[in-house]
Subunit: 284 residues, 2 copies
Amino acid sequence: MSTATEHETTTVTAAALRALEARYGMPWNAPLPAWNATLDTLLAHRSVRNYADRALPAGTLETLIAAAQSASTSSNLQTWSVVAVEDPERKARLSALAANQSQVREAPIFLVWLADLARLEAAGERNATGIEGLHYLETFIVGMIDAALAAQNAVVALESLGMSAVYIGAIRNHPEQVAAELGLPPRVMPVFGMCVGYPDETRPAQVKPRLPQPVVLHREQYNAPSQEASINQYDEVTRAFQTSQGQTAAGWTSRSLARWRSRESLHGRDRLRAALNALGFELR
Amino acid sequence: MSTATEHETTTVTAAALRALEARYGMPWNAPLPAWNATLDTLLAHRSVRNYADRALPAGTLETLIAAAQSASTSSNLQTWSVVAVEDPERKARLSALAANQSQVREAPIFLVWLADLARLEAAGERNATGIEGLHYLETFIVGMIDAALAAQNAVVALESLGMSAVYIGAIRNHPEQVAAELGLPPRVMPVFGMCVGYPDETRPAQVKPRLPQPVVLHREQYNAPSQEASINQYDEVTRAFQTSQGQTAAGWTSRSLARWRSRESLHGRDRLRAALNALGFELR
């Protein structure tokens, strides 16, 4: 095998500039040194909640998991697992636990991504070695990050193959019940769900504009003062997008703040710490 | 713009099967319905710690951040930021805070990915609305997951362009000092660092084999009993890989357990919870 890093580069096209413009809702002003099919896939991402009635080809799930396992993992510990749910009744029960979101029932496959400290814990017990480290907040964080990196690789893979997905954070509304439904051992946490399927082309989702780059990208040090004007600009971009989608033109700031207004606006996830303790995470 | 999801598919090639075999250190036995350049990029991932003395083209960072911002984000809250560090003296100070890892100094760009609750907090103050939700563990978790999904998209983008990266979890060894170095406001946490550059082709990194799929991929419910035999098999694969790299053939299990053996083996990250409290995260 060649040791040189393989890569693909095509000429920067007008389509690339259109993809960037759609992502920000405004023209792209930076240089653009190169472009390729992978960047096309990444930039075209949209969360899809309406799926076609079309099965996934044999081997799809295994391909996605191979992509997921190719992501970085802290010290190669691989502190994640995933449960693939296809049984309609189980999907219906999981949907009921996740704010009754219909896409959990309707997607052909529902993946539950897990921070999994149980695998190494069991290996420690087999080897009669100490495993005190697993009780710390740091170790839980490693599991969550490992799961997130793996899951995102799966999303890129499936979108490159013409499928779509949406993350389901509401799987954290009732972690203990989800753990019971999936038969999880202690010290395994459902981090998020993910619906996977072919998109229903009759109900297409659109690329959602994001914050202007200067709001999220800082040079050398964090730059708080520069953010307000760009956020105001983004509220305008968001209002235009919301109007184009037939939604109330609330903008980004007010809609986002509504999610954090109070303990109640967390929809039960204010008790996540207690739920994690119940699942065996001490979070020292 | 077309509303159909664009995708790219080529014939499954022998090279695809070789990539999968390298990822698992054993033959690929599942069906393989399709393949493409994006899957090539994903499967070829390796963490690179040796960089060529070669600057990144103008616009590279902006392209990577556009890819990062294209990742999903919980409720579009975009609770992440990134600081790009190029100043050699700052990179040296950050390296000293991150276990003196030389690649932090030597990579042309060092990115510090942040869980950023301060942006919406400031917006709440400007709008005189309640922001009680930001004090909960759930909200911190949202920020960490948002940062991880964004960072992984950046890795895929840069690898598709022939660059390489490595995540630096040791940025969590001294979170308060890193926050001071980067001028972070309260309620912003350094989640991990990332070295970015062109790989030094004279010191190539190899694809590291991962756990067999049945260990991480569960069907309908978590399957603990099936794991032990596959982990033993993986220990053999890992020993062969370690030998090929001139490393001690310790296997995966014993090396991984050494990371969790005791509080001390966390290298100071046993106090991460206290550090987060000091950075303004209550984690209720």
